[in-house]
């Protein structure tokens, strides 16, 4: 269904981590929910490769940005719930501002006549 829509965009390298952290801001959720949340929030514009989610989560866990705990999902399944750590929160803040700077700069370059905004 997604694929029939007008050309979903591939995820940029390195942005996945940021999106995961952002998603976790609302409280601990499991992997599937993260994927769904990202897709839904971007209104299905971003194509989420579910497979890359798990290595990314492990990477974040290794860096101490998220912590994980086994729990029960909404339909009674054992699932691993990820939670944002204090370090993760700090990284999220700095990375978000970096990202905003970057996207603003790119936007400015691509649309120079809209500079007065």
């Amino acid at each position: 269904m997604r694929k029939q829509k007008d050309e979903p965009i591939d995820m940029l390298q390195g942005t996945l981590d940021l999106l995961i952290l952002r998603t976790l801001l609302f409280g601990p959720i499991h992997g599937h929910a993260i994927a769904k949340s990202i897709e839904r929030t971007s209104q299905d514009v971003l194509r989420m490769d579910h497979g890359s989610l798990y290595p990314a989560l492990q990477r974040l866990e290794r860096r101490g940005l998220v912590s994980a705990k086994w729990g029960t999902s909404e339909n009674n399944r054992r699932a691993r719930f990820y939670r944002l750590t204090a370090a993760g929160r700090r990284v999220l803040v700095t990375e978000t501002s970096k990202w905003e700077c970057l996207s603003e700069a790119i936007a400015r370059i691509l649309n120079p006549n809209r500079e007065e905004v």
């Binding site: 499991h30 890359s52 798990y54 290794r62």
Partner: protein, 878 residues
């Protein structure tokens, strides 16, 4: 704390099975949830499952990627690098062999020198927890047995154990043979305070404390056991005869036992105190004992001094008449620099050791330069490989890490082989029989400090030999596919040239130092000692105080001299307390006129000594038998004293000496004669002031000098038998003067041997270095040579082209080396015979010549090969 969390994470993931299961379960949940969702949207269960699987992608790939996150990436890299390095080293065995051997030789030299330094100086004593042991000198003097008992019973809480010992000499009889052996008379707790247990048998027990106890017991050294009993395990319980008394052997010391005296001195036997040996033990003023204490941890030297002070003052209250002991207490650690300072280790020995360490560093540098040169050359062969890897995105840091792993592996192998060399050397040194008045043994060990040194050496050689090559090799991003005819980048050529120059400079310094010592040795062995050496026998006789009163001792010596004089072939006999050029010295300060002389050699002699030694009497007269009885003390001085302090007018003048030594004042002594200078301390010394005094009644150790008409060896046995017949209990040590002299020359002989060995080694390493560099350079220039020959260059021209390069490097190396050498020899002058010219143009020229010839020979082989190239093949080499 981030790394800590990461560590925790990694440790958790060490359990791969559990981690895999968890991941699998997580993915399964994901798939089920996704399928559920799809079903709710309206797909059939089967379609929904496929869709979920599609959205997730390749499960195996996910697991693979996740595992990568779990991994100890750097560790895996390291293991990979090591595997890679091992393969690489196997692929070029010659390179590996030369590098490892170079490093191993250098490491052998370094560890060997360190081992000697440690055995002789730093950790000279075998004991448990040496840091707790202290040498104690109350009243700045050796103490009596009674004093020792007094201190022991004081129960100072800072002291865990107090032991006493004194050096002595025993006559050991086996069959009909009498032999003088060295031994320590010790308190029974001696070995338990040291914390040493005999390797066979037991230590002394507490009930052996009674000095009158019978039977008497003895513990023997491992060497003595091997030498006298062929290491027979049945030694325990055997009765041996010492000073005509029976002693039961109760133990044998460990093989590598380093005695309390340090400096490699190794007494043969150890016996507990006994009245028979020490004489009147309870005379409070009679003292030769030295004290060691094991102190509580954390008690500083000053605290110990303070707590001992009160006890020492107590002794004065107990024996107010005993004036020998002042209230002063000196405390020293048993090992290390402090002890060296207290024992006044001669300067030349310290200089020599410093020199050895310097040499070790130089050899190590040469070896590192060798390996560095080889690594650079090897790196250039890998230019393409490296360039491709860089182009494919390899990080430079990863490449450097990999190259450094390779040199670390080389260094590790080198150090391992070097340690094998060291152990071989240790076995050799341990079996070395060094003739000296006290047996001398060196036990080189592979102990903790040495292991630390080895680890340090691995690190140092890795960095020294590997860093620059690694940096250079990994730089070549742009070189991919470039044509390589004769283009060596500038920095790299510069580095390799600098290596060759440095090696030759160091080899030059090494060889100059070695020749200097050889010249010193030659000078020494041809030096005239100033007395007759060829026809002399020395017999050291030690009488013990318990059986020889001073009158009986005097009678003994008078009789011995008369009877030996009666032997056939004997020209003259006399007695002397300190034999020149021996290990023992007696020096004191002197006042002569208005001069205060810091150090004058002194010895006591009997009348006729100068005749026996063939030392000419220049003015005045010899001692006479009644000089002693007549009261007014007299002395004979040597020419140097007469010339320096009395303007050649010494006769009947007075000198002032601090004798007898128990009085603080200097007493006047009349000069009755002047004799020609001779050598006293060492053959290399400058003329020294010396004074001769008549033998006193207190002298119980006297060396009889026997001068013979012909070769003295035949008379040796006759003298020995005669002395044994006078009193078989008396320990006697008979030697030829010539042998004594050889012994005196031994240290400088060993030093010269060591230095020339190391010098040759350095030369060998440097030669390998220049050969490698030249061979490589020719290989690099193959195409260039081909072009030159194609354009008409002759073989001779090619040869000259390559040799010119080598000559330039060797010349620069020699200039740098001679400048360095000028510097080093000035420092060496201290350890060399006096009056030797240290900067000798001839040795500089010789060493330079040898180096040049060796270097050019090493360069010639590759150059010749280069000139023999077929231009057709050479041109196609790239």
């Amino acid at each position: 704390m981030r790394w800590w969390d990461e560590m925790k994470y990694l440790v958790r993931k060490l359990n791969r099975k559990r981690a895999d299961q968890e991941l699998e379960e997580e993915i399964r949940t994901h798939l089920e949830l996704e399928t559920q969702e799809k079903i709710e949207v309206g797909l059939s269960p089967e379609e929904a499952r496929y869709a979920a699987q599609r959205a997730l992608g390749n499960t195996l790939l996910i697991q693979e990627q996740t595992r990568e996150v779990w991994g100890w990436l750097w560790l895996e890299w390291l293991l990979k690098d090591i595997r890679y390095a091992i393969r690489g080293l196997f692929r070029s065995p010659v390179f590996t062999l030369v590098s490892v051997l170079s490093l191993a030789l250098a490491v052998g030299v370094t560890t060997g020198i360190f081992g000697i330094f440690e055995a002789v100086f730093l950790n000279a004593v075998s004991a448990r927890n040496v840091g707790q042991l202290r040498q104690i000198e109350p009243g700045d003097y050796a103490v009596s047995y009674r004093y020792y008992q007094y201190l022991s019973s004081a129960n100072n809480p800072a002291i865990l154990g107090l032991a006493a010992y004194t050096k002595s000499r025993f006559s050991f009889r086996s069959g009909d043979d009498l032999e003088s052996v060295t031994g320590d008379i010790v308190s029974p707790n001696f070995f338990s305070v040291l914390g040493v247990t005999p390797s066979i048998g037991r230590g002394f027990s507490i009930d052996e404390q009674q000095p009158e106890r019978q039977p008497q017991v003895v513990i023997v050294s491992h060497t003595f056991w091997k030498r006298k009993y062929g290491a027979n395990p049945d030694i325990l319980g055997k009765v041996i005869n010492l000073n005509r008394e029976s002693f039961t052997v109760v133990g044998v010391l460990p093989k590598d036992y380093r005695s309390i005296h340090g400096y490699g001195m190794a007494p043969d036997i150890y016996v507990p105190f006994s009245t028979q040996l020490v004489g009147d033990l309870y005379d409070p003023s009679l003292g030769t004992l030295q004290l060691i204490a094991r102190v509580q941890d954390g008690v500083s030297i000053s605290q110990l001094k303070l707590s001992l002070g009160t006890i020492v003052r107590g002794w004065r209250r107990l024996y107010p008449t005993d004036r020998r002991y002042s209230d002063k207490v000196e405390v020293y650690p048993l090992t290390g620099i402090e002890r060296m300072r207290r024992d006044m280790v001669p300067l030349e020995l310290t200089v020599f050791l410093a020199l050895l360490i310097l040499i070790a560093v130089m050899v190590l540098l040469i070896a590192c330069a060798n390996v560095a040169g080889l690594l650079v050359a090897r790196g250039m062969n890998r230019t393409r490989e490296i360039a491709i890897r860089l182009a494919l995105g390899a990080a430079r840091s990863r490449l450097i890490q990999q190259l450094l792993t390779e040199s670390a592996l080389l260094a590790f192998l080198g150090v391992c082989v070097g340690v094998i060399f060291y152990l071989a050397m240790a076995t050799m040194v341990a079996n070395l029989q060094i003739r000296a008045s006290v047996p001398f043994e060196l036990h080189l060990r592979l102990d903790r400090p040495l292991l630390y040194l080895c680890i340090g050496l691995v690190a140092i050689t890795t960095l020294l030999s590997g860093l620059v090559p690694a940096l250079q090799t990994s730089r070549d991003r742009w070189r991919l596919g470039s044509n390589q005819i004769g283009e060596e980048t500038h920095q790299r050529a510069w580095f390799r040239r600098a290596l060759v120059v440095g090696q030759f400079a160091l080899a030059f310094v090494l060889l100059i130092s070695a020749t200097l010592f050889l010249r010193g040795l030659a000078k020494n062995s041809h030096a005239d000692p100033g007395f007759d050496v060829q026809h002399l026998i020395t017999a050291e006789v030690t009488l013990d105080k318990s059986s020889y009163s001073s009158i009986r001792a005097e009678q003994y010596f008078e009789r011995a001299i008369v009877e030996i004089r009666g032997l056939p072939g004997v020209r003259s006999v006399s007695g002397v307390t300190v034999v020149p050029l021996g290990l023992e010295r007696w020096a004191m300060s002197m006042e002569a006129g208005e001069h205060k002389v810091q150090r004058v050699y002194a010895t006591r002699v009997t009348p006729g000594y100068f005749g026996t030694m063939k030392i000419p009497l220049l003015r005045g007269r010899d001692f006479q038998a009644d000089d002693r009885a007549n009261g007014a003390p007299v002395a004979i001085v040597n020419e140097t004293v007469a010339k320096t302090y009395f303007n050649n007018n010494a006769l009947d003048s007075l000198v002032y000496l601090p004798i007898p030594s128990n009085q603080p004042t200097f007493s006047p002594i009349k000069i009755i004669g002047v004799v020609r200078d001779s050598k006293y301390g060492s053959l290399g010394e400058e003329p020294m002031p010396a004074i001769y005094l008549p033998v006193s009644q207190q002298d119980r150790t006297l060396t009889l000098a026997v001068s013979t008409d012909s070769a003295p060896a035949g008379t040796l046995t006759a003298v020995r038998q005669l002395l044994a017949s006078l009193d078989p209990r008396v320990p006697i040590k008979i030697e030829l003067m010539q042998e004594r002299l050889d012994g005196a020359l031994l240290p400088s002989k060993i030093a010269s041997l060591l230095l020339s060995g190391i010098g040759t080694l350095g030369l060998l390493l440097a030669t390998i270095g220049i050969y490698g560099v030249m061979a490589y350079s020719v290989a690099r220039r193959t195409a260039e040579i081909g072009i030159r020959m194609a354009l008409g260059a002759t073989k001779i021209q090619v040869l000259r082209l390559i040799l010119k390069d080598a000559t330039k490097l060797v010349c620069i190396g020699m200039v740098v080396g001679s400048m360095l050498a000028l510097f080093v020899v000035q420092a060496l002058a201290e350890a060399l015979p006096a009056g030797m010219k240290v900067v000798d143009p001839l040795s500089f020229a010789t060493v330079g010549g040898i180096l040049a010839i060796v270097a050019l020979m090493a360069a010639f082989v590759p150059a010749w090969k280069g000139s023999q190239l077929d231009p057709n093949i050479a041109l196609r080499s790239e």
